[in-house]
């Protein structure tokens, strides 16, 4: 079986997202569902609710008081945010985040993704975006294709990483060369299987160019910049060490004032360490 077939088969055989996630998504999308109903659903899964509270209390969300119940989380963070936290947790759970496959640790790739999520959310806030619910999740998922490679064809993926390093080329080009398919394409296949919303699919597919056939968006441009910043700040490892120049057009989409990028770095590092710990270590 060739590599592409092997990957496609593996994606086909992946389970759907956990039942609790599906139930919760439906409940949250149903505007008549009460907080009580939603919090009952989540609370029935102890492990999930415990983690949700940990994430909800992390500095990323900037809630001053301690959130002690799912009900409070829904109240302070809102339905969409809680749903996104649960999505993040459900998806991380589907992958092996431990160990070391052929010298490349999945935890480093995850850390890069989490770094991009953290920066995306912070940039959204600083550029005056009112609705920032989706930025963290979109950032975390942008490179999901790389995690699929590492999960299902680790040895071949390691070749691609080595090839990128030796040739000093972007990992995306090395993937094409070695695997004949790149992480944006593979990620898109998974996004379709897991029925992720269109804005997430766009981020997975187009975060390198920041342009979809229909144009760009604030979210897509933000993730594009955040991906470059995470590389600059060496948050995790993204498959190569290169720092591409942003697409010039993203600066029109995301308004960032002078000094903002520099002054954000401390908060980013702090949020990052905390989120990596909560999502990957505990």
């Amino acid at each position: 079986m060739n590599i592409i077939d092997k990957i496609l088969n593996s994606i086909n055989n992946l389970p759907t997202l956990t039942t609790i996630y599906t139930q919760l998504s439906e409940a949250i999308d149903d505007e008549y569902a009460s907080n009580q109903r939603i919090s009952q659903l989540i609370s029935s899964d102890q492990a999930s609710s415990f983690k949700i509270l940990k994430v909800a209390n992390s500095p990323l969300f900037g809630i001053q008081r301690k959130i002690e119940s799912i009900n409070q989380a829904l109240l302070f963070l809102g339905h969409a945010e809680v749903k996104n936290i649960l999505s993040t947790l459900s998806i991380v759970k589907q992958f092996n985040t431990r160990g070391d496959s052929h010298g490349l640790r999945p935890v480093d790739l995850w850390a890069h993704s989490i770094g991009v999520g953290i920066i995306s959310r912070n940039l959204a806030l600083i550029s005056g975006q009112k609705k920032v619910d989706n930025y963290f999740l979109a950032g975390v998922l942008h490179d999901i294709g790389k995690l699929i490679f590492l999960e299902f064809v680790p040895k071949e993926y390691m070749f691609a990483v080595e090839f990128a390093e030796n040739e000093n080329i972007p990992i995306k080009d090395a993937e094409k060369e070695i695997l004949k398919i790149d992480h944006t394409q593979v990620g898109q296949l998974l996004a379709e299987k897991w029925k992720m919303p269109q804005y997430i699919q766009d981020v997975i597919q187009y975060h390198h160019s920041a342009q979809t056939p229909k144009g760009s968006s604030h979210l897509l441009s933000t993730v594009h910049i955040s991906n470059i910043m995470a590389r600059i700040m060496r948050l995790g490892f993204s498959g190569d060490n290169l720092v591409p120049q942003p697409n010039m057009m993203v600066w029109d989409e995301v308004e960032i004032e002078k000094g903002d990028l520099i002054s954000l770095q401390e908060k980013i590092v702090n949020d990052f360490k905390n989120a990596v710990h909560t999502l990957l270590v505990d």
Partner: protein, 105 residues
Amino acid sequence: MAKKLISVSEIEPGMVLTEPVKNRNGQILLNTGIFLEEKHKILLKTWGIGKLSVKSDGDENSSSAVGFPEEKMLALKNRLNWQPRNYQENELIELALIYIESEKV
């Protein structure tokens, strides 16, 4: 921001474009904020462009990019080899210089 109109032959490397250069169809050939280089002289001439608008000197408070010293850019060269086109990209390079020595977090 103070601008001045110059002709293609007056281009000096490091000048910053303050208005997009467009062809007859209105298509943008070079965008605002781009750092002009020697090669642009020939390019612009072959495109048939006469005049272009660049940032004029004595405009310290402008939000445009400043060039980075060669030796610093050299240190980044294996990872990052582009010049900033605006203050945001300036700050990205500043960040890259800060994190150049650091290990993976």
